[in-house]
Symmetry: C2
Subunit: 347 residues, 2 copies
């Protein structure tokens, strides 16, 4: 694509635009009976499968900043954050719908970039795009994605199934996406003050990648099934570990005890936090958008899970009367609070 090329959306009209953006998306799943192009999509899951539905609304200026988020990454992320919610039910995403609202600031080529990212996510996670809505906006970009998946009724995992003494596990590492955001925001400020300064993201590829191109933990969901481990409760970490573990505790009617020293933080994130005069553990507890999975397992499953390189046991559930606690490295006891990422506080 030539950088100079700019096709106005108005040249194609609504239906021409939809055709241009969606024609490369072919339905791949037998469960997709009917995709884009009718009043509604039609899906058919075999036998006793349950249908899982989740949706997210992403607004420019609130959830993303196009000064540093490439449109292709944005499209990818918009899909992944929804798939992550489906996996967090221990379900398998199969279809998505994508609605966008865009002002005439965006060219057709820009939207093709966005859809290239959506397409890449569909390919990687093996989901069909089956519908959506395309509209103009007065100002800014709006993206609404709905993900639909299937699950066996007896393998569905809710937030509410945890019991006292069960182990609390988390995948990957935490806080990196938040630190990546801080870094991008810093570079934006520097750029706005002096547009000749090149961004300095040297040695920060990991945290920046965690912010711009998160992945959903399909791998862990598949491994758990193979290892014959059925989590008792599960949630994905979009708002920060502390907020999410409180959701599990509230839904399950338990308290929890987390150990600071067990919480996984990537070395790059740790060093960057210190550079920014931030407490790394605070970033891990309250920084959002890592899209890792937080889940509880029965104690007898510990032997199966303990050697998995990407799953950390960070604590256990306890009686609700004992509250939700963090035990620091210095053996102090803190009460966990939900300072997680909150779109309303940011506004």
């Amino acid at each position: 694509m030539s950088a100079a090329q700019r096709t106005e959306i108005s040249e194609l009209g609504e239906f021409g635009l939809i055709r241009r953006l969606t024609e490369r998306f072919k339905k791949k799943h037998g469960s997709t009976v009917l995709g884009v192009g009718d009043d509604a999509a039609v899906i058919r899951y075999e036998g006793e499968r349950q249908v899982v539905v989740t949706t997210d609304l992403l607004l420019e200026g609130i959830h993303f900043d196009l000064m540093y988020v490439p449109l292709k990454h944005l499209g990818y992320k918009a899909v992944v954050v929804n798939l992550s919610d489906v996996y967090a039910m221990n379900a398998t995403p199969r279809q998505i719908t994508v609605s966008i609202g865009v002002s005439n600031r965006f060219s057709v080529e820009a939207l093709e970039e966005l859809y290239a990212g959506i397409y890449a996510a569909c390919r990687k996670y093996d989901v069909d795009m089956v519908g959506g809505d395309t509209s103009s906006s007065v100002k800014g970009m709006v993206i609404s994605v709905t993900a639909i998946g299937e699950a066996d009724a007896n393998r569905l995992v809710r937030r509410s199934g945890a019991a006292v003494n069960e182990l609390i596990c988390v995948t990957g590492d935490l806080g990196s996406a938040y630190l990546g955001l801080q870094l991008l925001e810093r570079e934006k400020r520097i750029f706005l003050e002096n547009p000749n300064v090149q961004p300095d993201l040297e040695g920060q590829a990991y945290v920046v990648g965690r912010q711009l191109k998160p992945e959903a933990r399909r791998d862990v969901i598949e491994w758990l099934a193979q290892a014959d481990i059925l989590p008792t409760s599960m949630i994905d970490i979009s708002d920060g570990l502390s907020s999410e573990v409180l959701h599990l505790c509230e839904a399950s009617g338990t308290g929890c005890r987390l150990y600071e020293e067990k919480i996984p933080i990537a070395e790059e994130a740790y060093q960057l936090a210190l550079k920014f005069h931030l407490d790394p553990i605070t970033c891990a507890l309250h920084g959002g958008e890592d899209y890792e999975l937080l889940f509880t397992i029965r104690q007898q499953d510990y032997e199966k899970i303990k050697n998995h390189p990407d799953i950390s046991v960070i604590g256990h559930m306890q009686d609700a009367s004992l509250g939700c606690q963090l035990i620091t490295k210095g053996n102090n006891v803190h009460t966990l609070t939900a300072l997680g990422w909150n779109a309303f506080r940011k506004a």
Copy 2:
């Protein structure tokens, strides 16, 4: 609710707001396994039922103007336009998700009005609200609704099933919603010029109601099932009759022949069009948002349908080589074009 009361969204926070807005919504369908409050909703349709999914994005300033659209009506309409798409598949809507993005211009009480309309639509059409997303916006209101329904595989009606000589039917009357919009826009202009002038909507309750509070044709879908009529193709009229009949023809590989004198126009709409120096038939052909159903039936079903008071046979399908035509009252032949409501042209 006191008009003076204004609770800021920030006082409740995201989760508090979601709780406040959704607590009155109770799940009523056996098919709703899990509603609001987990990572995703869970649905289970019995046996060989297929899942129908459709989604619409509504943006302030593009799809609605809060100067004359009451929030309660807006919530109602946001749901109904999606249900209309599900009915247009000859399916039954069962669940919806609702995502909203709102700036701090809106109070909690304003959002309660919006959700009162959403609730009213859920009750009237017997659907469960099972999830969504709530976020702040930089400016303006964004509403994204996804509707999920079920259908028997062998009763699903697509756009593509029409054949030559089949009869083209439309429910209700056309053009009223468009004329209601023109009236509201006129009153808005008058108000902006002189805020002391009271709106003059006298005698226009029907067209204003068609614009502000459309209904989906559940009644007709149920009647067709009882009358044992399976339409061969179907679409709902959101963009104007002409645009929609062209969709049916394109998908079915046919042409069509419509008769101007058969196109149903309400007397109030007809008179108002003349008052506005508009051609009533143009309003019916190209005015959108009536949310009536357009469908084709086999000739042998004519006897069953001819006495239905709210279904008009307006023409028939013909060979594609003959094109898509409108026969005027003066027996002239016009080629149908898609000048339908197009969000991109409006922007």
